[in-house]
């Protein structure tokens, strides 16, 4: 899967499932402060990543992920590792 396709899929579930606006999805956006992803939302991110990409995320994997770009990079690395 190409990186662009992965980012498109991530953006799709952030808009569709998490009801974020497309113009909010800039790479530098903070997941917590700007996109208002809270601790319960991380639980749902685990579910939707498994549905979309087929791998399981551990809660602690999110510790170093601060921005949307960090999140894209994490998903891309996991998809490529698989």
């Amino acid at each position: 899967m190409e990186n662009k396709e992965i980012i498109t899929k991530v953006n799709y579930f952030l808009i569709d499932e998490f009801e974020l606006e497309e113009d909010q999805l800039v790479p530098t956006a903070s997941l917590k402060e700007t996109l208002e992803i809270d601790s319960l939302d991380y639980v749902d991110l685990v579910v939707i990543i498994e549905k979309t990409f087929g791998f399981k995320v551990k809660g602690e994997d999110f510790v170093g992920i601060k921005t949307l770009q960090d999140f894209y990079d994490y998903i891309i690395n996991r998809v490529q590792a698989n």
């Binding site: 499932e17 319960l40 639980v43 749902d44 685990v46 579910v47 498994e50 399981k56 551990k58 809660g59």
Partner: protein, 407 residues
């Protein structure tokens, strides 16, 4: 002691999605019952059920507010929005005052079943999602609504089987009467899915008149063959008379009596003595004689034994001359955890509009229902100053409420 009044009502039911629609259905005797093939495919004895559309709250509530809501929480939200609007209680008032919530609910099976289905398939609790726990607790309605409306008062779910909604109003009445709270959102909610009803269907308590769904719920009729499960939600805003006057709220009616009892007998079969005790306690609390009641909204669910015993309880307390009696479950089906609250609303609507809603499908009495003055069709231009509403549940829990017109 404070007087306790009703200042708002809201409903989402199988016979209407708001007060106006429900009032029209009650007046015309419209049934909300239908047939669901999926129940038969799953091995249900009866495919009969109340039919209701799930409200779409996307766009009205944020995702975080919605994901923890079970089906009955959604119904309760819609009903409560209508009730708060009628009571003229807005967000700013809720932020500045200790408004409470006491809501009846006694199951939330669908979310529990769905969570377990995920576990069976995925073998990982991390894949159940964040909303499941908040959907799968009996207090799903009170926990969600108290957050959405930012409530600061009492926050409690009342689980008392088919008397849950009625007890929630009775307990709210006492908290306000004693001065502990000024305003409480009371009510009852009931999920309507097959997930929650399979075990009940297994007791052979449901009607199997599947070829005539709208004639299946036949409370007090000689040929009744069981209840029809149904649901939705009903909200009643209870308030102290003083608070209502101070706010300039329109007072709809006054709650003047609450009676309760436990049969201490059989887990599913009701008796005569327990309900009669509840009725007598409500009359005593209201300082009324039985003859002063203008209308009885019966619990009657259309089960052979339940209706038989309730008819005897009413006769025991009211003697040979009863006021008009009807069971609105003939139209709605059995709204269970919701019923005690919705039936207060149905009766208030009759009181406000001077009619008695019909006990539809009552064609032939049995030995005991023949002694009751059952409204077989809409009784028009009938003044109701005071009514009594009964709710009885599994485990022998009984609740009776008496409500009076404000003049």
């Amino acid at each position: 002691m404070n007087r306790v009044v009703i200042t708002g009502m809201g409903i989402y039911s199988t016979i209407g999605k708001n007060i106006e629609e429900v009032n029209n259905s009650l007046y015309t005797g419209k049934s909300g019952i239908g047939f669901e093939q999926l129940r038969k495919d799953l091995g249900f004895r009866s495919g009969l059920t109340g039919i209701i559309e799930r409200p779409d709250l996307k766009g009205e509530l944020k995702r975080r507010q919605r994901v923890g809501m079970a089906e009955e929480s959604e119904y309760a939200y819609v009903a409560t929005i209508e009730a708060l609007k009628q009571a003229r209680i807005e967000e700013d008032f809720l932020d500045k005052n200790d408004v409470g919530i006491l809501y009846g609910n006694d199951s939330t099976a669908k979310s529990v079943v769905e969570s377990y289905d995920i576990l069976k398939e995925k073998k990982d609790t991390a894949l159940v999602g964040s909303g499941a726990i908040f959907q799968s607790m009996n207090s799903t309605i009170t926990m969600n609504l108290s957050i959405i409306f930012r409530l600061k008062g009492i926050n409690l779910t009342v689980s008392a089987a088919c008397a849950s909604g009625s007890h929630s109003i009775g307990l709210g009445y006492h908290l306000i009467k004693s001065g502990l709270q000024d305003i409480i959102i009371c009510g009852g909610g009931q999920e309507i899915n097959y997930h929650s009803m399979g075990s009940f269907d297994g007791l052979n308590a449901f009607s199997v008149r599947e070829d005539q769904p709208q004639k299946a719920s036949r409370p007090f009729d000689r040929d009744r063959d069981g209840l029809v499960p149904s649901g939705g939600a009903a909200t009643v805003i209870l308030e102290s008379y003083e608070s209502a006057i101070k706010r300039g709220a329109k007072i709809i009616a006054e709650v003047i009596g609450y009676g309760f009892s436990s049969n201490g007998d059989h887990i599913s079969v009701p008796n005569v003595v327990g309900p009669a005790k509840s009725l007598e306690m409500a009359l005593k609390d209201a300082q009324l004689k039985a003859a002063q009641i203008d209308y009885i909204n019966a619990h009657a669910t259309a089960t052979p034994v339940g209706d038989l015993n309730e008819a005897q309880s009413i006769s025991k307390v009211f003697g040979p001359k009863t006021p008009y009696v009807s069971s609105t479950k003939s139209m709605t089906g059995h709204e269970m955890w919701m019923g005690g609250a919705s039936e207060i609303i149905y009766s208030v609507l009759m009181m406000q509009n001077s009619y008695v809603a019909p006990n539809i499908n009552f064609e032939n009495p049995d030995e005991h229902s023949a002694k009751l003055n059952i409204a077989t069709e809409t009784i028009k231009n009938h003044n109701i100053d005071i009514f009594l509403s009964n709710s009885f549940g599994f485990g022998g829990t009984n609740s009776s409420l008496i409500v009076k017109k404000i003049k």
